[in-house]
Symmetry: C2
Subunit: 218 residues, 2 copies
């Protein structure tokens, strides 16, 4: 009966250690010590380390989906919801400065290892991508919703990576503020500029206007 609890704890600690130290560098010994069990006990719950990784990715999927659903419920407007997304950079500021983006770093590592789970890790990105695309679609950006989603996702990812590399919290906060300002401006110009049906014509040029403003560091 306590087996399921132990299993959950293994997944939880593995999730944390995979994030902090990386999948390959986090050993069974580390996880066992964190959970408080013996190394040999793993085999009862998981046959291989890859199975733990699968469970960790599943866990992250659930948590991400719950987070997205929460934003969907709370946020009254699409802009407000996307702003919630951007603000995870600030909400998880400490962790991101220390260990980077949990999804990006895992995805990058698994690709280097040529691991079979690399697609499943990239699937975590897809959750955000599709959710963001839905928000932009609701804002009136028909065929460009996915492109906008990828743009925001990519920029957030890069901000996390550089904030991590430079341990620069001021940079992270400034970029979030700029991103939110860009979002504000986008929500104003979007419905008037382009109907939702555009996007097929390749020669159509559209303009996104972007506010950038220096953040007052409080």
């Amino acid at each position: 009966m306590g087996g399921a609890i132990t299993r959950d704890q293994i997944i939880e600690q593995a999730d944390r250690l995979f994030y902090e130290r990386g999948f390959e560098h986090a050993s069974f010994t580390d996880i066992a010590a964190a959970v408080g069990i013996s190394r040999g006990n793993f085999y009862y719950h998981f046959k291989t380390k890859d199975e733990i990784l699968d469970a960790v990715i599943d866990r992250r999927r659930v948590k991400v989906q719950a987070m997205l659903d929460g934003w969907e419920a709370e946020g009254r407007t699409p802009v407000e919801r996307v702003r919630r997304f951007v603000h995870i950079l600030i909400a998880n500021q400490t962790a991101i400065l220390r260990h980077g983006c949990p999804i990006g770093t895992l995805s990058t590592e698994l690709i280097k290892l040529n691991h079979t789970a690399q697609d499943r890790a990239a699937g975590l990105f897809t959750l955000f991508r599709d959710w963001l695309a839905r928000q932009f679609h609701a804002m009136g950006w028909g065929a460009d919703a996915d492109a906008l989603a990828m743009w925001v996702l990519a920029h957030s990812q890069g901000v996390a990576t550089l904030a991590n590399a430079f341990r620069d919290d001021a940079f992270l906060q400034r970029e979030v503020a700029d991103l939110c300002a860009w979002l504000e401006r986008l929500s104003v110009t979007s419905p008037s500029t382009t109907p939702a049906t555009v996007g097929a014509a390749a020669d159509v040029r559209r303009e996104f206007e972007v506010f950038r403003q220096p953040v007052t560091r409080a």
Copy 2:
């Protein structure tokens, strides 16, 4: 006399393998096989694996600096130079889709390993950051030059990461085109909008206008 040649080959292959498989995952056996020497021969040229890493980072510093100097010499305008920077994403498209950004992935990994060389890896980012800041400074963005440099750097980094995760070459090309369009627009609005001496006042709002256009996939 052939010793220096072997040493260079070790650094070259280590550089490649650290990029393709990651620092920790690339073993002495792998590098030895790639160079065509025995594993025991390493100790003559490098005392530890970390020494090889140092040499690899030094090598990358030199190559990056040479690349930046080349752009500085060829590019006639600052905008043209920054465009050269953005276009490395396309020039190295195949490698980036497979293995991500060489600097970003190394920096991320070394942070996870809590490796002593993590700052030296981040120093590679600084080369680009300072170079970009000088270009933006020359364009007239006085105190905001560094912020703009970080913005471009972060976005490129995020694009590389996502293009790698999704193996999406179309996305990479589209983002590069958008980035270049944004740059074009920036070079037009910059000198007129803000004098180079601004930046101290926190309540000054400035606008960056950004062209976004769907890329015609050739």
